[in-house]
């Protein structure tokens, strides 16, 4: 039996980031979560497995903390959780991450299909699926909103700029899905319960033979602060405020 592997990233919840006045970023209150887009990758995996009866697994690479994500990941259906937890993940770029994932995939017996999201909600770099495909030298299809799988043959619909493209590809291959086709359902209590009992496999960067040195050297990370005038009309009745706004827009030359 073949295995379908869903890759996901454990990211900081962007809603919890606090930008300090000096533009530094306080992440101390930020909780982790599975990147929303990756929940769709897991859902796509379950939908394909429902068509084919294949085995399912999840794979993630993160800091040792990433172990916390496995219960949530597995409550979404997959049978087995593979994870690589290493402090090197802090500085990992897509080069490192794709190498770790590709090496891990080689160790998962019978993997014939890897499903990723287009990008993660923190970096949104959208590199992982094509890079993993290149490293495994498997064909890769991105921007997928629909898949039909019959045996080894996959017919996929891609949503690109201005067109829908239908392609066929044989397994083994890498697919990146868009969230549109694969809205992740809320896991039920039964699924959450059983997730705690599913088998987990930890893999190490060293045993996978990966070099954790990133190509990207981070020079700075700063919070974005809008530099706008903030002239806000609060007091007075509605017509006063409208008059003030219209005269301000006139001065700006916006009404000519």
């Amino acid at each position: 039996m073949a295995t379908i592997v869903a890759c996901y990233k454990w990211v900081l919840d962007e809603e919890d980031l606090v930008i300090n006045p000096d533009r530094s970023i306080d992440v101390s209150h930020a909780r982790g979560k599975i990147s929303e887009f990756d929940k769709s990758a897991i859902e796509a995996t379950m939908q394909v497995a429902a068509q084919t009866g294949d085995a399912t697994a999840t794979l993630t690479f993160g800091t040792p903390d990433v172990r916390k994500s496995l219960k949530d990941a597995l409550s979404r259906g997959p049978a087995t959780g593979y994870w690589v937890g290493d402090a090197a993940a802090c500085d990992a770029d897509a080069l490192v991450t794709s190498q770790v994932l590709a090496s891990a995939i080689r160790t998962i017996d019978g993997t014939s299909l890897v499903i990723c999201a287009e990008g993660a909600s923190d970096t949104y770099a959208r590199q992982i699926a094509p890079r993993v495909g290149a490293l495994l030298d498997w064909p890769t299809v991105t921007s997928v909103i629909e898949m039909k799988v019959e045996g080894d043959s996959i017919t996929a619909t891609r949503k690109l700029d201005g067109c829908l493209e239908t392609v066929t590809v044989n397994r083994p291959c890498v697919i990146a899905v868009l969230p549109a086709g694969y809205e992740p359902p809320i896991p039920g209590l039964k699924a959450v319960l059983s997730a705690g009992k599913k088998p987990l496999h930890e893999l190490g960067i060293a045993e996978l033979g990966c070099d954790p040195a990133p190509a990207a050297k981070v020079l700075s990370s700063q919070g974005f602060i809008a530099n706008r005038r903030n002239v806000i009309f609060v007091d007075g009745d509605a017509s006063d405020k409208v008059t003030s706004l219209v005269s301000a827009l006139k001065k700006e030359g916006m009404l000519s």
């Binding site: 949530d72 809320i186 896991p187 039920g188 209590l189 039964k190 959450v192 319960l193 609060v234």
Partner: protein
């Protein structure tokens, strides 16, 4: 587990909560989803499709849902705690296989009819009776203020099968009645102060013939189990009241911070607002400790029947007071139903009465305090 409830509330319940309150329609879609997500059989045995979990887990889920749509917890409580508790305690393996599995999945909706038109808590004055005729019971009479009527697939009703012993209450039997049973009439929904969407009304029986194997538990001896299943429902009213109070408090707090009075938020401008909020918060934290302490007792098997009742009393009282003060903080805006805060007060008022009024519960507790135990328990 709680995350599942939180997501469900955020994505599916909250967007329609005000609409349910406004239209008063039974939230059928939400109820179905609650079944799919496993919320209807949390404490039921795994063998019959339940999750076999403790009451603390169930309470955490009820609390989350009550923050957004209290009436959904009423629909769920009547179904899962009252009917589910009885089926689980009294049902034969065949009955459990046939009904309890579908109760846990939500495939069937259950309603529970106990209150007779003559007396609320007084089960002795049951106006409905059953007479055995061959292999069938013939039932006549009616039950009022039954929730989930009309939408229910199965009704569990309490019917007098012989003279009722005033002390032991023997003489009352429980029956499983399928919705299509001939002789069963479903009345229209009552218009109520709160709990809009609970589908509450009267069901009547006219020469309704129920086969013997639809008797739930031994004939004439269902009240002991009922006392327990009611206790389970009263227990759940604790976290429900807690969730409602938390929601009303949070709305009032946010409002007091966003409403600008004399250039500063109302919270900072008026000490009275701040003090009200502090008092509300203190009551909430008190209730939280009481709720989860009591539920820990329940899960450890150390619960006394009167503790469950106290939880309902306190849950309703705190929810009512916090919601009332929340409306007060909002001022005029709080009286407008679109604001969404006043419905917590309306629902809390009904919580203080529906299912068993605070006074009926106090009476029961008082008897236990007087004699060391309730005659029944």
């Amino acid at each position: 587990m709680v995350n599942t409830a939180k997501k469900f509330v955020e994505k599916e319940v909250a967007p329609v909560a005000l609409q349910v309150d406004e239209t008063g329609e039974f939230p059928g879609q939400l109820f179905k989803r609650a079944g799919e997500l496993g919320f209807l059989g949390i404490t039921m045995p795994e063998q019959y499709g339940g999750l076999g979990l403790d009451f603390t887990t169930a309470a955490l889920i009820y609390e989350e849902i009550a923050k957004s749509l209290p009436v959904l917890t009423v629909n769920m409580g009547a179904h899962a705690e009252l009917a589910g508790g009885l089926l689980n305690m009294l049902g034969t393996p065949e009955q459990k296989e046939k009904y309890l599995t579908k109760l846990c999945s939500g495939e069937y909706i259950f309603a529970c009819g106990s209150t007779g038109p003559e007396g609320g808590d007084n089960h002795v004055e049951h106006a409905a009776n059953a007479v055995l005729d061959g292999d069938e019971y013939v039932i006549n009479g009616n039950k009022v203020l039954v929730s989930n009527i009309g939408v229910a697939d199965v009704y569990i009703i309490f019917i007098k099968t012989s003279e009722v012993d005033p002390i032991t209450r023997d003489g009352i039997s429980a029956f499983i009645v399928d919705k299509n049973t001939s002789g069963l009439t479903i009345g229209s929904y009552e218009r109520k102060l709160g709990w809009h969407g609970s589908a509450t009304g009267t069901i009547s029986f006219s020469d309704m013939r129920i086969p013997k194997d639809h008797l739930l538990g031994p004939e004439g001896k269902c009240m002991q189990a009922t006392a327990v299943s009611c206790t389970n429902e009263f227990l759940i009213c604790g976290p429900v009241g807690l969730g409602m109070a938390e929601a009303a408090y949070q709305m009032a707090f946010d409002y007091s911070m966003s409403r600008i009075q004399h250039g500063v938020p109302m919270y900072d401008r008026f000490q009275v607002t701040k003090f009200k909020l502090v008092k509300m918060r203190t009551m909430i934290e008190e209730l939280r400790a009481f709720v989860y302490g009591t539920l820990a007792d329940k899960d450890a098997g150390n619960l006394e029947l009167c503790e469950g009742r106290m939880l309902k009393i306190r849950g309703a009282e705190v929810a009512e007071e916090v919601a009332r003060e929340a409306i007060q903080i909002y001022g005029g805006v709080g009286c407008i139903d679109e604001t969404g805060v006043e419905r917590f007060w309306r629902d809390a008022k009904v919580l203080a009465i529906g299912g068993a009024s605070i006074e009926a519960l106090q009476d029961f507790i008082g008897t236990m305090m007087r004699y060391g135990k309730y005659p029944l328990a």
